[in-house]
Amino acid sequence: MSGASEAAPADRLAGLSRFTLVDAVLWGLRILVLAVVVGGTIGTLIKGRYAAAQWFDFVLFGLTIGSIYAQIALGYTMVYGVLRLINFAHGDIVMTGAFGGYFVAGALDRSGWLETHPVLAMIAILAVAMATSTAIAVLTERIAYRPFRRVVGLAPLICAIGVSFFLEQTFRGAFGSSVRSYPDPLWQRATFDIAGFHVPRIDVIVIGLALFFMAVLYVIVQRTKMGTAMRAVAEDGEAAALMGIDVNRVVVFTFTLGGAMAGIAGVFYAFLFKQVYFFMGFTPGIKAFGAAVLGGIGSIPGAMLGGFFLGLVESVGPALFLDGIGIPAPYQLRDLIAFTLLIMVLIFRPQGLLGERLARTRA
């Protein structure tokens, strides 16, 4: 005990004056990342291996996948804002939505409706996906998260990890571990030609609808009574409860909004990659968490911004940074870039880009 009590004042001094080991490690990491980014970019640009059309493709795909990350990140950030909980199972909520949409899409595909009535079919697919993921999100909150409402620390996060694993394995048990292919209607495969660039129609649909749904969500949170109550609970739960706000209803509403966005994101993700399987939610889920932290967790515009930023970096990054430092076939390294970005954000800027509120109240 005595050794520990002696160390404390020395540590406080170290924070003020001395260059500590932590600082050394952090500076080493900063320099390494900067060297890869700058060196790689210069190398790639000198080599000039990529044409303008290829860069356009990278950016467009980045924005498309980024719009999906943004929608998923919204679920993390809203739940964190209201409950201070990292809903680790959110990626799997996305997966349940993709599965719900898959069964409708498959049935419509077999009957030919998906091809002949694209708008009606998409509405039906999205509605079922949103209903599925919302139901599971709300159920999860009721069963697994509500008992932890007043618990701080790691128990709620551990519980959420358990929920995540449970959902994955339940879907594996119910629908098998094989990858199922999503329907691929002709109208999604077509491309627009704009100023000599090929723009896949699916990209336009995904980005356009994602922006539309995010605008709807923003209006709900900013303009409706329930949205105002949500923001009040996020600001100060106890005070909101004293003012007569039904916190339970607000929490359920938050999970409903997040679940609905997750369902939409799941369908888009599945249409983009043309597959569904039980583990499909994990990678986009963790990446979207990174996007939410990047934007400042708890901040809704931050989550949207973070999602697009992460999508762009992981899509453009392999060609721009890694090709230049001589790494062959860098396209497979999108995940590497995304998760490295996640670690770097957690280390260097955990309060995020727009996260002053978090830094002020809970750092």
């Binding site: 990292i86 048990g173 963790i286 968490f289 590497l336």
Partner: protein, 282 residues
């Protein structure tokens, strides 16, 4: 079926299982030391993978004696733990948890794409070293050390941190140093388990060190409870042996891991072994 089964055959048949119990026990202890200081790391599988790949590559490429390979396989994950832990331990526990998941995924992408690590095929033909006796010797040693540490003033400090980190810091416990020490110990234990596992299985692949094993390791520790180091080892033994008795329910096996975590935190916050270690009067 009708052939008589001798004791040797029996041991040989169940050798993999017996080794599995020991290795999972080491991994459960690796999770225990982190949980015992009130932190959560989901990098145990990543540390195990680093140990496994380090050990396998050293054995395959250099022909170093196993007595040197094994410590090296513990040091490499410890280095990564230091790099991740130093910055993130200053923040709330969630950040370490998510950063360790990120580390696992980054490493998996590296194993999959770098020729050195054999890509998706992994590494095979790893020479057989160590074996059951060494696994259990190390497990016993780790248990003994953790038991002694738990009874010392360090153990008191750890428990204080787990209950309330701020209060512990106010009482003069250097919380961050203990947390970093615990993370390093966890990386060493997981690295040893990884290297030992690689040298008894003779094959390793990138899929074995992802998120799924990380969650399984967490469920070992939570089922057994973290009141004493014996809890996680018991949890690991139960969850390793249980599937052998539930062969018909292969699909349900992993659902069970998820359920155990949820049920354990909801209803059994102290695990199956709720008693705390006896300690000298403070």
């Amino acid at each position: 079926m009708s052939l008589p089964v001798g004791l040797d055959d029996l041991l040989w048949t169940y050798q993999g299982l017996i080794q599995g119990v020991g290795l999972n026990g080491l991994l459960a202890l690796s999770m225990y030391v982190v949980l015992a200081v009130g932190q959560l790391s989901l990098g145990q599988a990543a540390f195990m993978g680093l140990g496994a790949y380090t050990g396998a590559l050293l054995s395959l490429r250099t022909g170093l004696p196993f007595a040197l390979v094994l410590p090296a396989s513990a040091l490499v994950p410890a280095g990564f733990a230091l790099a991740i832990g130093l910055p993130t331990l200053r923040l709330s526990g969630v950040y370490l948890a998510m950063a360790t998941i990120g580390l696992g995924e980054v490493l998996r992408a590296v194993y999959l794409n770098a020729d050195l690590f054999g890509g998706a095929l992994g590494l095979s033909g790893i020479p057989e070293r160590g074996g059951t006796a060494l696994i259990y010797a190390l497990l016993g040693l780790a248990l003994l050390v953790l038991f002694l540490v738990g009874r010392s003033h360090v153990g008191r400090a750890m428990e204080a941190m787990r209950q309330d980190g701020t209060a512990a810091a106010v009482m003069g416990v250097d919380v961050r140093r203990y947390q970093l020490g615990a993370l390093l110990a966890a990386a060493v234990l997981a690295g040893l388990a990884g290297a030992l596992g690689a040298h008894v299985a003779s094959f390793i692949g990138p899929g074995e060190y992802g998120f799924e094993p990380a969650v399984r390791i967490l469920s070992f520790a939570l089922l057994g409870g973290i009141g004493s180091p014996a809890g996680p080892v018991l949890g690991a033994a139960i969850l390793t042996l249980l599937p052998e008795f539930l062969r018909g329910f292969a699909d349900l096996r992993l659902v069970l891991n998820g359920l155990i975590i949820v049920v354990a935190v909801l209803f059994l916050p102290r695990g199956l072994l709720p008693w705390r270690m006896a300690r000298r009067a403070a």
